[in-house]
């Protein structure tokens, strides 16, 4: 009797230890950083016109992306898939926040960002700032950006930009946990956001 009670206790302790470890390190489908570092905070102008800081969203899982409203393909695709992933999260969506930082402050005003993002999901928040502020944020996150690319067939004022197309996932504690490459499925995004929310 005593032996079986000890065996039960041992198994229970093993199970709780394993479950605790599993809960602390959920298996993510995105690319993961080990060890994760604190996501660099920033202070920019939000698409609603107010000051936007990353730390303001502590307690939520954040999908942080970089792009611009004139982007012909990558940004609309990414935002559409983030909107789809958010829908799949259903009741958990309230704890998931998409932040999109412009790489093109020359053309992306706060209003322009707001209108563009709202066409995908009204909860998405954009951020803009001075070229120097945005360059500092890109450097902190390792975001690459090309010079302006002009195309002969387009008017002279029209240009395109090549930029990093992935999405960072920041956990509820503000740690930069993972990177989702462009083109992954909404299921993968949903899976990873849920995993981070369950911690």
């Amino acid at each position: 009797m005593r032996e079986s009670a000890s065996a039960f206790l041992f198994l229970f302790l093993m199970f709780t230890a394993f479950a605790g470890e599993a809960a602390g390190n959920p298996e993510l489908r995105a690319g993961v950083f080990d060890p994760p570092r604190a996501a660099p905070d920033f202070s920019l102008r939000g698409s609603d016109g107010s000051e936007l800081t990353l730390s303001h969203y502590r307690g939520k899982v954040i999908a942080l992306g970089f792009g611009y409203t004139h982007c012909p393909s990558v940004c609309p695709t990414t935002l559409a898939y983030l909107a789809e992933a958010r829908k799949k999260l259903a009741s958990a969506a309230g704890n998931f926040q998409v932040l999109y930082v412009t790489v093109d402050p020359e053309r992306d005003s706060a209003d322009q960002l707001k209108a563009f993002l709202a066409s995908f999901d009204s909860t998405f928040v954009g951020a803009t700032g001075t070229p120097q502020q945005l360059a500092a944020v890109r450097a902190a996150y390792g975001i690459t950006l090309s010079d302006k690319i002009f195309v002969d067939t387009q008017p002279k004022s029209t240009y395109f930009l090549d930029h990093s197309s992935f999405i960072y996932l920041i956990d509820q504690g503000g740690k930069l946990r993972a990177m989702m490459p462009f083109g992954v499925s909404t299921d993968d995004m949903e899976h990873d956001v849920k995993a981070l929310l369950s911690e």
Partner: protein, 177 residues
Amino acid sequence: MWLATIPRTPTRRGTGDLGPPYPTSSGRDVFCMNHRLRYGVLAMLLIAALGIPAWAAFAPVDSESRDLVYEIPKGTFARRQAGEKFDLIPAAIRLTIGVRDVLVMKNHDDVPQLFGPVLIMPGQSFRLPFRKASTYLFTCPLHTSGLLTIIVEPEPELGWKRLQWRTEAAVQFAALL
């Protein structure tokens, strides 16, 4: 009687056994052994000729580790600052789903490094698994083209494709020797 004229074969070791209706000289034994050996070798060759391709075509594909690891050694930044030019990572990386489909990048240097698509802190590693066969393009300042291409091939299907994949892998391995 004609029966009486049929010569009797000598009995084997005096046991009364008439033995096989052919002479059992030692030369004939060697002949038989050579025959058996030849058949054995042929059978083994046949088994190998059919068995190895069958194994290659149908055996499950797996590997000890699915990680393909690239590392930035300590002192890389200093070497670059000194004007040395070198590549830490090829411009194109091939992965295969189910076999080697996880790209791992480790930074052992003292400064943050943009390695492939991401910024990796000193002492940090980045593990990127691939679940879908495709060609992925990442901006990468480490390359003159500015691009890192990751070609992720599907898990080789049972049969001809798996055989072809194993043959190519064997040829590549042989080329390295």
